[in-house]
Amino acid sequence: MEFKSILLVEDNLSDVDLAIRAFEKTGLMNPVFVVEDGKEALDYLFCTGQYFKRDQSDTPALILLDLKLPMVDGLSVLKQVRLNRLTKTVPVVILTSSNEETDIAAAYECYVNSYLRKPVDFTEFANIIQQLANYWLKLNILSPKPQ
């Protein structure tokens, strides 16, 4: 069985490692693909730049997106994802330190699927990762592949 990948967009490598660590604890088999800025995320998703050889139809099962990103910020990435025919149905979960109301509201304006705040306490953080992976990758039924 082939598992669809999870795209993690996160510039803080410490957070990336902790996230992967938390993810591994879930026992899920989906590969986690990490990009460190917004531009790279878009290149990956739309198979441009360094990812021009990638198959665009191979969309991730879940995108975990930080808001504060170098080059292109998370909100802009979200907008592009939602505008594209192939990616618009992919679940996107914002995973960020910010709990600013403006950020939360803006994300939902752009049809984000979920908004989660990274707590300082790692136990809690691991707990969150575990729950969201369980939900989005096990419970949730994805949209059929676009024709």
Binding site: S14, L18, K118
Partner: protein, 1139 residues
Amino acid sequence: MRQLSFNLVVLATEIKVPSGIAENLQVENINLTIESVFPIPSRRNKSISIALISWLQYTGMAEDIEYPLIIIYPRGIEATVFQLTDNRIIDVICEDDLGRLEFVFKKWILGDIRNPQLKKISAALAVDENAERLNLVIEASGAGVWDWNITTGEEYFSAKWCEIIGYNATDPGLEHTYNSWAERIHPEHKEYVFEALKKHLEFNKPYDVEYLHLHKSGEYRWQKSVGKALYDEVGRPVRMVGSIFDIHERKIAEANLKQNQAQYKKSNEIQQAIISAIPDLMLRISDNGIYLDFHAPEQSVLYKNPEEFIGKNVAEVLPDTIAEILMKGVKEVLQERKLIELEFELPHDGALLQLEGRLMPVNKDEVLVIIRDVTERKDAMERIKKEEERFQLMVENSNDVFVIAQPGKLHYVSPNIKKVLGYTEEEFGQLNLTEEVHADDLPLRWNELSEPGSSLQFEYRIKNKQNEWRWIESFGVNLSHLESVNGMVFNLRDVTEKKEKEAQIRQLNNALGQTVEQRTKELQKSEALLQEAERIAKLGSWESDLSTKEVTWSLELYDIFGLDSTKPVPSFAEQKRLYEPEDWEVLNKLVQRAIEFGEPYSVDLRMIRYDGSKGYLLARGEAKRNEDGVITRLVGIAKDITERKTAEALVAKLTNRLQQATKVSGVGVWEWNIKTNELIWDDTMYKVFGIAPENFTGLYEAWESTIYPEDLPLVKKEVEMSVSGAKDFDMEFRILWPDNTLRYIKGSGTVRKDANGHPEYMIGTNWDITESKKADELVREQRQTFEFILEQSFAGYWDWNVGSEYIYVSDTFKRMLGYENDPSFNTISSLRSIIDPDDREVLMGVTQEHFASRGEKPFYGEVRYRHKNGGTVWVITKGTTIKWDENGKPIRMIGCQIDITKRKMLEADIEKNRKELEAFSYSVSHDLRAPLRGIDGWSLALLEDYGTVLDEKAHQYLNRVRSETQRMGQLIDDLLQLSRVSRVDLNWSVVDFTALTEQVYKRMDDTIKERVVEVSIQKGMEVWGDIKMLDILLTNLLSNAVKFTGKCEVARIEIGKRMQGTTPVFYIKDNGAGFDMNHAKNLFGAFQRMHKQSEFPGTGIGLAIVHRIINIHFGTIWAEAQPGKGACFFFTLNVNKHS
């Protein structure tokens, strides 16, 4: 062939409807039958409409009748509007007018053809063929037909109609409308014609008028118009048809005839009058003295049968002496060929007639002699000479002026004219009266004195030499038939003061009516001149010869006392009963003094007339001396002055009444005798000036001394001006009462002049206007204060008459924008040109809304102006419309504006700072927390992955690292919240504070589920605020209460509200650890903690957040606590709004 049927309703059985009427009424193509005749029995003189209604109701036939009805009603009944009762009724005809049936039928048929339902006759007759035929018939008679649609105003005029006023029927210059006709009517006839039309339309009065109508040629021509209106079923006139005739020639002929008749009559009368009016004897004498002709009026004493003269010689008929004179004259006339006058005496019936002859040549050898009997005139002249002295005396003693004049010529004016009008006799003679007499009183009514013997009293205003108006009452008699006078005699009396009194009386009470005298006594003899003059003046005169004791009285003097003039003059002793005893004593003394010392006298006396009635008399007397200087005679006059006295008494009474009135109204009245300097005050004056009457000196200075020193110069000047006659006294000034209180007085006064035009006295009023002045001052003061405040608050003021280009802008306003030295900066366009275009649009919108809502929506805006130096000036402009017209249009707007540039700059700075702070907070929340998560995460990883190789102490340290990082995370979160509460925009609403508290408490359930906590939350608390902020507030306060009661066995937390005065105070009370108030100075500062971290953990930011939320809710928070005895936090909301 059309079949038409009628019903005839005959309202009275007596009326006979002519048989075969239908057959007589045949109209082409129509077969007419009268279906039935319904005779209704009715008593005569009963209202027809009642008869008809009862017929319609009670015969039971009403519904069956489907044909139109024609009602025939008996004579002697006033027809009412029948159409109202039933619209089937097409007309109503009187039994005397049965001939009209034909017309009614035809009219109906024509109407019926067009409109079988018989609703309305509306289309024009002219379009109908039959009507056209009818027209032709009518027009053949020379009449023009018109047909007026009253509803639309259109009016059809037939060709003949048009022709009558000079138009072709198709002439585009003639509009076929009612107005076109109406406008052509001669302006003087319009009212009459329209009235007739109105009467016809409203009351059905016949319309038959004759008027002048404008012809195309521009001249007005006489026209006769008759017409009749047609009514709809509810009785409204909808149409009127009629005809006009040109009757111009007839009218002119009539007028000429009338005029000729009148002229003829007049000239005939004149001739007759002339013939009968010549009083003279006319003779024609040949050069040798033969009478050729003789005319004499029959009533003349000289009348003789003409036959006694004609053909005879002068000497045969007249005495020798006269014949001699006459013949001498005849010769002289024929020689000199000019008119000569002769005087001679003729004995006649034992008397000597004085004759005057005028001779003039006629033909070559004939002389016309006109002889006039002048006996009476001569006698009169003699008598007048005798009376001269008395007359002169009377004239001189009288205040009246006597004038003898003819139109255009002044014969005599008495010297008194100087006294009355200031002119000398010569000056008066040269006056052009039409220029001196008041325009309203021209022409002088003496024109009405054209008939000899007629008399007339009239009044007029004339300018005296000082150019003041004087009222003159004049009594005039035309004595032109008396040769000694040969003109009109007038008595002029200055009645100006009387007039003034009259006016005063009229104004006050309307009590004194005008007395109108009518005198129509024929004057026959020349001595009547004096009598008449006396009568005019109501003057009697007398003369007493001291040596002979002979006393003569004029007739008027008899009249004055009501005595019979045929009786001898009463003796001096007898005269006693003609006066009141006291007055008689006075007169007696005066007469004695006159006799003894020659002292003239003049006195007003109370007289008792013969009939016992009482009156007043002005008696004057004067002694006359002979050549030796011995007093021989007394002459005098007496004048009935009862009316004057009565009037004076009435005036006095009214004056008293006036005084009463002024007393009540608080108006003081004063009179200042300028000559004596005496000042008289009425009671009110004393009150106005706060002076007791006994402390008043009664001199002008006493008044002046009360005046407030500062006002004195002005008052003095005003008094001077009014005394000099420049203007009436009228001003406001201040006075000081004896107790030094300052009062405001309004004073007015007017100066009266004596006969010589010198100011004599001044009268006027003073009243206290202090109260109203104070009110004025207050208003002014408030205004000044208001302006001062505006100026001090750096507000610019503007005032605009809405719609005008000019706008008043205050100095501050100008200074604000850099235009303080630009006087032309006061127009709407100058303001508009420097307002920011975007703001201009907004401001215009606001203005429109302000006007449209009638001021409900305020005129308010923050706008940018371009300062003269190029910079931007932010202002708040605010205004309101203070005056609207009755239609709700704005008339005047005022407002002010404040320079808020600095504030705007600060706001911009604050905004910039806020943005920076936001960016800072954002990065803090992200970037500061990420490493903490790393520290915590990796510490945990270490514990998980290498826990087995670490000893107990290492485990402890790593756990310490983790708890510290989490505390730091909390600290960052709290700080972020603190910064957020200050910068969010609040959403105000009514918040159910009780429900919110319950909700917040519930969220804490988790943390306290192992504890015993008794919470009481008061019901029904409501506040005005932002629900999210209040949530944070309660969360912080409640979690504190929960935290600090953590060590209690039973925790008690109470949330409630109580009133402190009128202010609601909320509180949260717990029975927890409390704290020491001595160390609670900075209880609400950030990072202030009252407990050890080990006892009660916390960041010390919670109360700082609470404090800030209270602040942004305009409230206050304070606490009461004791260590170990719990704490209570009190707070108010929305109370400090105004500070």
